[in-house]
């Protein structure tokens, strides 16, 4: 069998636990987006690369020393049919979210199919343990709030690696918050959530192994495959190929723009003057760059806090003026 570069999930999705943290991060990072650090941007879609790389390494460590051993133990003690059952069970519950997002994206025919899928698997499939619908010809569709936001025209924003959660984008964060809220697993107790996590890590095994084997630079490999995969999902496989083709026709050497790369982050190096990044590396020590991105994050923390204060002040003024009027 062949391995496939599915998705760039780098670590277990512990969405449930961290949803609170996510909201905080969303606010913070929303702030980041406004305070752009122009001169240090190496890559338009990944302006926080140095910071992201740190988190990536951290996540990799967590995966190596915690998630992977536990997941391997789970795979070792659990018979294959049970693993499949567990996978099907959680996958079936995910379809609640899929149906909601079908509707939000105005894919009504697909939403009818997915509702049918959910109904068949929940009843005939014994609460979702068996994927009966697949044999009836109802394939699993991948829809989530991030894709819905994309369909609605919300820009993707910067690439971000979140602690424990792995790759995401500025748009992916609010998306993940909604997805978590729309998943029934969120509202049940801890043991079920733990199994959900084990299942998530175990099903990501193939993709993770592929990254380990194929990636020269696992960070870049994960970023690119994640962004391309997400883009492919958001456009339902339509846009990616066509842009790919046209861009590839160019001989990259004759062209100023970075055309052959054309992936999702293609415009990234295009904005980069040749040799710019090299010069950067030579001029500035890495540590300085990291501390720079740290300080830019801190800065945006400040500015967010300040805007809250401003808002607070305004509310105070309003209430005051009302009082005076009385």
């Amino acid at each position: 069998m062949m391995n496939r570069p599915h998705n760039g999930k780098r670590s277990v999705k512990m969405q449930q636990i961290f949803s609170g943290m996510l909201i905080g991060a969303a606010i913070t990072l929303g702030g980041c987006a406004t305070t752009e650090v122009v001169e240090h941007v190496e890559n338009k879609i990944d302006p926080y690369e140095n910071f992201n790389r740190k988190i990536f390494i951290f996540n990799d460590g967590v995966d190596n020393y915690v998630a992977e051993p536990i997941s391997n133990a789970y795979k070792w003690i659990t018979p294959q049919f049970m693993q499949t059952g567990v996978f099907n069970f959680f996958n079936n519950l995910k379809n609640v979210n899929v149906v909601i997002n079908d509707v939000l994206q105005a894919k009504f025919a697909q939403s009818a199919e997915d509702t049918g899928r959910l109904a068949i698997n929940t009843t005939v499939g014994v609460g979702g343990l068996f994927d009966v619908a697949k044999h009836v010809g109802l394939e699993q569709n991948e829809e989530d709030f991030d894709q819905t936001l994309a369909v609605w025209g919300v820009p993707q924003g910067s690439y971000l690696v979140l602690p424990f959660l792995g790759p995401s984008t500025a748009r992916g964060i609010p998306g993940a918050v909604f997805d978590t809220a729309a998943n029934p697993i969120t509202y049940v107790g801890m043991p079920v959530q733990l199994v959900a996590m084990l299942n998530a890590r175990a099903s990501a095994e193939g993709a993770l192994k592929f990254i380990d084997e194929a990636a020269l630079d696992p960070y870049v490999f994960t970023r690119e495959s994640f962004l391309q995969w997400r883009n492919n999902l958001a456009t339902d496989g339509k846009s990616e190929v066509s842009t790919d083709i046209d861009a590839l026709g160019d001989d990259p050497l004759d062209d100023d723009k970075d055309t052959a790369g054309q992936g999702v982050s293609a415009d990234a190096d295009a904005s980069n003057k040749p040799g710019f990044a090299l010069r950067l590396d030579a001029d500035t020590k890495k540590i300085e760059q990291v501390s720079y991105s740290f300080s830019s994050v801190a800065q945006s923390f400040d500015s967010t806090a300040k805007s809250f204060e401003d808002a607070g002040a305004k509310v105070d003024e309003l209430t005051k003026s009302k009082k005076y009027r009385r």
Binding site: M1, M2, N3, R4, P5, H6, E139, Q140, E213, A214, A215, L216, D217, V220, F221, R223, E224, S225, Q228, W229, N231, N232, L233, G237, E240, V241, D244, I245, D246, L248, G249, D250, P252, L253, D258, A260, G261, Q262, G263, S265, A266, A268, D269, P274, A277, L278, D281
Partner: protein, 205 residues
């Protein structure tokens, strides 16, 4: 008698014509679709014997199919982007060489055995710049099919694969980001070392 001679002549002419046309088909430009389908057929054939051949056997068997259907020199050049111009001729040659080995090795590693997979042709389209994209998918029994889109360019009188997009993930774009990043951050020698390391790992498993 004359009739018989005529018959013979006709038969002879048919034979001649047939031979010529067969020759022409053989020598003439294979279409983009034919190039892709031939490569896929070779790949499936190697997968079927995959276990018996072992890694080294698969590598040997795939060497020609991969280098004849992919334009590896150009791919290697695109993959390093603008950095290509900064490399010496010797380095460029080395990169093409190592990159070609990596491409064959990754096929030999990833398509190691056969469990009923088959490639199905979907459609073919011309791009605005004279390339052709062949859309196909790999059917895997008991699993979701994987979409494979091949981007081809004409080289001489035949077509060569320049990019493969698997389930929407472009191999070329992925490699290009990786390779340019490594070249910029760590330099040429590190890149070559890392590629060689990958080839080594592929051969071990």
């Amino acid at each position: 008698m004359i009739l018989k001679n005529m018959k013979l002549a006709v038969v002879f002419m048919f034979l001649l014509f047939g031979a010529v046309s067969a020759f022409a088909a053989d020598e003439g430009a294979a279409t983009a679709r034919q190039v892709v389908e031939k490569f896929q057929a070779d790949l499936i054939a190697v997968m079927k014997e995959g276990k018996k051949l072992g890694y080294a056997g698969r590598y040997e068997r795939l060497k020609d199919p991969v280098s004849n259907s992919h334009e590896l020199t150009k791919i290697a050049r695109i993959v390093v982007g603008k950095e290509w111009e900064k490399l010496s001729e010797e380095q460029q040659q080395k990169l093409v060489d190592v990159f070609s080995r990596l491409s064959i090795a990754s096929y030999a590693h990833n398509f190691k055995d056969y469990s009923g997979e088959s490639f199905v042709f979907d459609s073919e389209e011309e791009t605005t710049r004279g390339g052709v994209v062949v859309h196909s998918h790999l059917v895997i029994p008991g699993d979701k099919p994987v979409k494979f889109d091949y981007m081809l360019k004409e080289k001489g009188n035949s077509w060569r694969i320049i990019n493969i997009i698997a389930n929407g993930v472009s191999d070329l774009a992925l490699k290009r980001s990786e390779y340019t990043t490594i070249l910029q951050r760590e330099g040429f020698d590190t890149l070559i070392n890392k590629i060689n390391e990958k080839i080594d790992n592929y051969s071990k498993q």
